[in-house]
């Protein structure tokens, strides 16, 4: 799917207070008695702060699941250990690859926005790398679905044992959040083609996507150790 970008997507210039809701900044004090001084906006855009807030919330959710797993396993006599479906390791490679391709896309778009585009490269490449990331994300979810189907075909459903229950809960919860990342990617692609893409939106989406990767590595380690 070739895409031609005719002009750099618009990004917001430095957000000064005269542009609607500005940022007070952490120490942007305006001295009493007039004498306004032009203050540089030092606060990050809301999308940047917002994504950190969202990641904090998701971290707390998975911390709660983790502590539930530890407490539940602690006194359990019914805990059954099992081998993780091998496809999970392949999925791990897929999600890591997705992070790499997204980072490539992000850097190229950032360079494009900054007017530092490399003329020797295809201008459509930033969007192409985003599509690759999107496909890898979908492949990851498909791989996770395959793992669930494999376990179910072996007779290990959600309620067969609490260890399987935790496996399903953690992986499904993670996949659900990956869908959020996919939605973010679709939004970025749409904005890139027919709207105004803000640098902060792109960075926030990338940050979330990387976070999904790190979260998956953590979950894999947890599941591997505990299950």
């Amino acid at each position: 799917m070739a895409t031609t970008v005719h002009e750099p997507p618009q990004i917001e210039p430095e957000r000064l207070p005269s542009h609607g809701s500005g940022n007070g900044g952490w120490r942007n004090l305006v001295p009493a008695g007039g004498g306004l001084r032009r203050v540089k906006d030092s606060s990050p855009p809301p999308a940047s702060t917002g994504i950190w807030v969202i990641m904090a919330s998701i971290t707390m959710t998975f911390a709660a699941f983790t502590s539930a797993l530890i407490v539940r396993q602690g006194g359990a006599t019914d805990w059954r250990h099992f081998t993780l479906p091998p496809v999970l390791y392949l999925n791990t490679l897929v999600i890591i690859a997705g992070s790499v391709t997204l980072e490539v896309a992000r850097r190229r778009i950032a360079a494009f926005m900054g007017g530092v585009q490399d003329q020797s490269k295809d201008q459509a490449s930033p969007a192409r790398w985003l599509y690759v990331t999107l496909c890898l994300g979908l492949l990851f979810v498909a791989g996770q679905t395959l793992a669930w189907m494999q376990l179910r075909s072996q007779g290990f459903g959600l309620a067969s044992n609490v260890s399987y229950s935790f496996f399903y809960v953690l992986t499904v919860a993670h996949a659900f959040h990956v869908f959020g990342g996919l939605g973010g990617l679709v939004r970025v692609i749409r904005k890139l083609h027919c709207g105004v893409l803000r640098r902060s939106s792109l960075d926030a989406t990338a940050r979330y996507w990387h976070f999904m990767g790190v979260l998956w590595l953590y979950l894999l380690l947890l599941l591997w150790m505990k299950l």
């Binding site: 609607g20 940022n23 007070g24 305006v30 001295p31 809301p46 919330s57 805990w79 809960v169």
Partner: protein, 594 residues
């Protein structure tokens, strides 16, 4: 100019009724929607408490029409013991989640936080709209449980396992009722997480020129701190609800232990942990106490300062103390589990921070009292309810000292002493904060003044009534009156029945006062006096710089610039009694941040 402002706010002024009043992106409309939801929930919750109190005080008394609410729960208009527990559960859930969290935080915060920081709206208005509607759907799920076959759950607002996880074997409402409860609370958590996202980013990133963090009013600080607590606490309760639902609908065994026998039947679960739910729930539950009360602290501080005409003794220490409360609230949750059989060393580990958390609470109270000392307070409904907030917080807080110690808590934990404690310190105090905020901000929200005479009648009836209800609870608890009992037939409890009768009469009297408030609210909305100007209380913060009620993007075509700390009252040499944050007047205030 209109187009410019519409662009800056991120969404234009709505034109259709649906976009303006239903699926609105405007933080002010969302704030009013939250307030309306809280008001509806409070009326339902109060009605349930009336039914409970009538049953406790006059057990065999038939409440006309009660069978219409539940044929099985109230045959012959007299409620069954199970139905009493169901009403109690719904009262607690509705009041804690849909009133005490919703009104002071989501309602007032949504309306006033962006204005007080000098923003045109929250940064993610679609999430903000979703926040309300997800919460509303959560409320509908909870309300729906009244109309299911066996009614709502009877497990108490804390939903302790295994009772909450065993399904219909646990009694009426323990099957579908619990699933509806957990779904409702799960949705509520999502709604509040979306709200917290907006509150935090608004505070950090949307402040206007000159609005440093320390120039934020105490209300904004209260909402900011609360949103951080909400972000972390609701993110833990939501997974707990998911696990509880799975125990019901998928047959998992997270919370139900092996070989549990109910009604001669062995339940098909294995190895679940009953304490796991308590850990997850109270990790949320204790911060929830502060989620309910910290916005109220900000609100009453803001109102008192405005009416004292002088700043608090220390703006910074008050903020730091509220922050300390939030931080410590995560370290004390185990004090709700002293009777769970926990290791005594663990009890001590939770007891110590519970005693420590009284330090910032005490500092806050001392700042209030010290600031009030010698002040010529303007007496109005808002300031009276603010004083009552402090009174309730002190009265309820003092009993917390006792309950913080495991050796005493073990004796009092299951009694009315605890009911009295938390009703005063987080229930009534937070409600009084809501009332104070309503009387204070009504002119800005509705463009009308509330009736002050009715407000004062409402205040005195509520203030006296609340003490008449909840102080005797402490006496009942010390006398060994177990809570959650629906009747008092044991020998040692029979002498306490007259006390329950008195409390019931007090509850009905106090409830009547709330109907006065409701009348005042509705009547004033349409017939109230028009405020003399945009700043009827002569306040200094940014909400008083806006039109009444504020325009779509809050500040019209000129964004505010802030020059002063939030509470510049009675500044020597100033041109008037107060200097607004937006006034460029040069002042020489010792409190002003340089």
């Amino acid at each position: 100019m209109h187009d410019m402002s519409a662009h800056a706010v991120g969404h234009g002024a709505p034109t259709s009724f649906i976009r303006k009043h239903v699926f609105s992106l405007d933080h002010k409309v969302i704030g009013k929607q939250y307030y309306a939801l809280a008001l509806l929930a409070a009326l339902v919750g109060m009605f349930l408490s009336w039914l409970m109190r009538i049953h406790l005080g006059f057990g065999s008394f038939a409440i006309p029409g009660l069978h219409l609410l539940s044929k099985t729960g109230a045959p012959g208009d007299v409620m069954t013991p199970e139905y009493y527990l169901q009403l109690m559960t719904m009262h607690g859930t509705i009041m804690v989640f849909f009133v005490l969290t919703t009104a002071p935080f989501a309602a007032f915060g949504n309306f006033f936080l962006p204005i007080q920081v000098g923003a045109e709206d929250m940064p993610f208005p679609h999430f903000n709209m979703m926040s309300f509607w997800v919460t509303f759907v959560g409320f509908l799920f909870l309300a729906a449980s009244f109309f299911t076959g066996s009614g709502p759950t009877l497990g108490g607002w804390t939903q302790y396992a295994p009772l909450s996880a065993v399904g219909d074997a646990g009694g009426p409402g323990q099957g579908l009722g619990v699933v509806l409860w957990a779904t409702s609370i799960g949705l509520f958590c999502i709604g509040q997480l979306l709200g917290a996202l907006n509150f935090i980013t608004t505070t950090l990133d949307m402040r206007c020129k000159g609005m440093s963090l320390m120039r934020l009013p105490l209300t904004a600080w209260g909402w900011f701190i609360t949103s951080i607590m909400g972000l972390t606490a609701f993110a833990v309760l939501m997974p707990a609800c998911i696990l509880l639902i799975l125990d019901h609908v998928a047959g998992t065994s997270f919370f139900v232990p092996s070989n549990l026998v109910i009604n001669d039947q062995v339940l098909p679960h294995s190895g679940g942990s009953t304490l796991l739910w308590q850990h997850l729930f109270w990790f949320f539950g204790h911060p929830e106490v502060y989620i309910a009360i910290v916005p109220g602290m900000g609100i009453v501080s803001h109102i008192l300062v405005t009416n004292m005409r002088r700043p608090m003794l220390s703006h910074r220490v008050l903020i730091y103390s509220m922050g300390a409360l939030a931080l410590l609230s995560y370290m004390v949750y185990g004090h709700h589990m002293f009777v769970s059989g926990m290791n005594p060393v663990s009890s001590l580990a939770f007891s110590f921070p519970t005693l420590v958390i009284t330090i910032p609470s005490t500092i806050i109270v001392l700042i209030w009292l010290g600031s009030l000392y010698g002040a010529r307070l303007r007496i109005n409904s808002a300031s009276l309810f603010s004083l009552a907030f402090i009174s309730m917080f002190i009265s309820g807080g003092v009993s917390g000292f006792f309950l913080a110690q495991p050796s005493i808590d073990i004796m009092l934990h299951a009694t009315y002493f605890v009911v009295g404690h938390f009703h005063l310190v987080m229930g009534v105090a937070a409600m009084f904060g809501i009332f104070a905020g309503t009387y204070f901000w009504f002119p800005k929200m509705a463009g009308r003044m509330m009736n002050e005479t009715l407000g004062k009648v409402h205040f005195w009836m509520s203030f006296v009534g609340a003490y008449c209800i909840f102080m005797p609870f402490h006496y009942l608890g010390i006398a060994g009156n177990v809570r959650r009992y629906q009747a008092f037939t044991d020998d040692y409890l029979i002498p306490l029945v007259p006390v329950h009768k008195f409390i019931t009469i007090a509850a009905l009297f106090t409830g009547l006062a709330q109907l006065i408030f409701l009348y005042n609210l509705i009547h004033s909305r349409f017939k109230g006096a028009i405020p003399p100007n945009d700043n009827p209380w002569e306040g200094t913060s940014l909400e008083w710089s806006t039109a009444t009620p504020p325009v779509h993007n809050n500040f019209g075509d000129k964004m505010p610039v802030v020059y002063h700390d939030p509470y510049q009252y009675s500044v020597e040499g100033a041109s008037s009694d107060y200097v607004m944050q937006t006034s460029p007047e040069k002042i020489n205030s010792p409190d002003e941040e340089k």
